[in-house]
């Protein structure tokens, strides 16, 4: 157990800060948490800018050499490092940048000027520093954040579920998206969000990343059953799971 009151700092990299917003919106649970930890740096809710901390919560992915150096520096002071949100845990939507060469992307976005000469291929933060806790999702699921903070305080690991979103979705007794003619990434995406999107009539978009061992061969049968195409599914996959780590989990069928 971390004692006495550990100091917690939030830092952000390439992201939208939406995950920190989820934390800010926790309400009562956040107030309860502040009895157990000192939040010393969290720019969405406070003006202090503490640079001494035990628990470092990093949002966003690494997208430049400068990011890389800065992350190493702030990580060196921390005892516990938490990756917050899809950008930090799996690269998230930022990985779309890597689908084309850096030069091509720069030209498409900035034209002839180059305001980011030190840009690199986007990566999740665990390609730069060792991560102790992962809080997946785009955005993160508030109750899971609280659960992870409890684990940190009790000094125990947090095991991200290695079963699909379908587990939670069925327990919530949602009508299957496939039965409504919709295509859903639930069967191959890690659970832990309490099937947040399907609960509201939407489909899983895979923001928490793929299972360790997704059955991509069998996934093809599903496509056939529901009359979907490999191209269509690849588009869905790549929104969040374009990083090399995630795409390495697809079967051959899905490699172009």
């Amino acid at each position: 157990m971390l004692k006495p009151k550990p100091r917690v700092a939030f830092f952000e990299f390439t992201d939208c800060e939406g995950c920190q917003l989820q934390v800010a919106n926790l309400g009562e649970a956040l107030l309860e948490l502040t009895k157990l930890v000192d939040i010393v740096n969290f720019r969405e809710i406070m003006s202090e800018d503490g640079q001494e901390y035990e628990v470092l919560i990093v949002e966003g992915s690494v997208a430049s050499k400068h990011d890389e150096e800065r992350l190493k520096k702030i990580a060196a002071k921390a005892k516990v490092i938490v990756a917050l949100g899809a950008c930090a845990t799996i690269g998230g939507v930022n990985n779309l940048k890597n689908l084309k060469s850096l030069d091509e992307q720069k030209k498409a976005v900035y034209g002839s000027v180059d305001p980011v000469p030190d840009a690199i291929a986007t990566k999740p933060i665990d390609e730069v520093v060792k991560v102790d806790y992962y809080i997946h999702g785009c955005p993160i699921y508030g109750p899971e954040f609280v659960k992870v903070m409890e684990c940190i305080l009790l000094g125990k690991p947090y095991h991200v579920p290695n079963y699909p979103v379908c587990v939670e979705c069925k327990q919530n007794e949602n009508v299957c998206a496939y039965d409504k003619g919709l295509f859903c990434l639930g069967p191959i995406t890690r659970a832990g969000c309490n099937s947040w999107l399907p609960n509201h009539g939407s489909v899983c978009v895979g923001c928490r990343g793929l299972l360790d061992n997704p059955a991509s061969d069998a996934q093809k049968d599903i496509l056939e059953k529901y009359g979907l195409t490999v191209d269509g599914i690849l588009d869905k996959f790549t929104l969040y799971c374009a990083s090399s780590k995630e795409s390495a989990k697809y079967g051959k069928e899905f490699k172009k």
Binding site: L154, G155, K156, P157, H159
Partner: protein, 294 residues
């Protein structure tokens, strides 16, 4: 559904609720293995037999099945030895506990080594790595009731001499004239003067009276088939080769399903099985897969 008074009372207690227990002594044998001597609240006896296990509960961290490593002849307390698995929740927290700390215990669960059948027979004990943990219970029991058994031969194998548990006790076993004790390490080092090689290499040279021998084998899952093949070559009958299997025992009550091998709930029908029983589990129990080749 009408129930009688006895079962009415039964329905007021939960088999999931652990008993309170206190740690009275600890000892760190290696970087990852720690020994705990435990006393149940109110000085109750656990009432176990060698081979059984308990569920250790640390509230907030969960529960884990751990073999009992002391003999029931030891009264008032029982012993556990737990490996710290850094990716897990329970064992790292357990390793932080010291004498005076409390924890929860459910059990004892599972089957014991078949002592009634083993009585009067020669005993060959084959312990690989952590397999010595449940076997310590059996060895202590046999040594306390030495005259009930025939020849006793213990084979112990470890990766290196530094991984060896219960060094003090092993030294005393080695000195005893009424048992034979052989030890081997997979990898030698300058301080090690004993055997180097796999535990299976110790068996071919032994002279064994197969009809009157019970062989008890406990070790890592991969070890079983290699040892069992050697025992079969010595003509020890299938029902006299005894093993203890590792599975994910969660409830201990034969319900939760995690430890199931085919139709067998290891937490109730095991963890102690004979090789004869392992044969029945063909296809779901790789520890017993040697007979195909034998």
């Amino acid at each position: 559904m009408k129930t009688d008074q006895a079962s009415q009372d039964l329905l007021k207690t939960s088999p999931y609720k652990p008993m309170k227990a206190k740690i009275v002594r600890t000892h760190k044998y290696t970087d990852t293995e720690k020994f705990f001597r435990i006393e149940l609240d109110g000085n109750k006896e656990l009432g176990h037999m060698p081979g059984q296990f308990v569920q250790v509960s640390l509230f907030g961290y969960g529960e884990a099945p751990i073999s009992i490593c002391s003999s029931p002849t030891q009264k008032g307390t029982f012993d556990l030895t737990a490996r710290r698995i850094s990716t897990g929740a329970l064992t790292p927290a357990l390793h932080k506990l010291e004498a005076g700390d409390t924890l929860g215990i459910r059990g004892p669960f599972g089957t014991a080594f078949p002592l009634d059948k083993m009585h009067g027979n020669n005993i060959l004990i084959v312990a690989g790595g952590l397999g010595i943990v449940p076997l310590r219970s059996l060895i202590q029991y046999i040594l306390d009731k030495r005259k009930d058994f025939g020849d006793v031969h213990i084979l112990l194998g470890c990766r290196t001499s530094k991984d060896m548990l219960y060094g003090d006790e092993i030294a005393s076993w080695q000195k005893r004239a009424d048992i034979q004790f052989n030890c081997t390490v997979d990898k030698g080092d300058p301080d090690w003067k004993g055997n180097v090689g796999l535990i299976t290499s110790l068996i071919p040279g032994m002279s064994i009276n197969p009809k009157q021998t019970y062989a008890v084998v406990v070790g890592p899952p991969i070890m079983y088939k290699f040892v069992i093949v050697e025992l079969i070559k010595k003509n020890i009958p299938d029902n006299q080769i005894v093993v203890s299997l590792e599975r994910r025992m969660k409830c201990g009550l034969g319900k939760c399903g995690h430890c199931q091998i085919r139709n067998v709930y290891v937490c109730q029908c095991g963890p102690v099985f004979t090789f004869e029983q392992l044969r029945e589990m063909e296809g779901e129990c790789h520890e017993g897969e040697c007979y195909v080749k034998a």
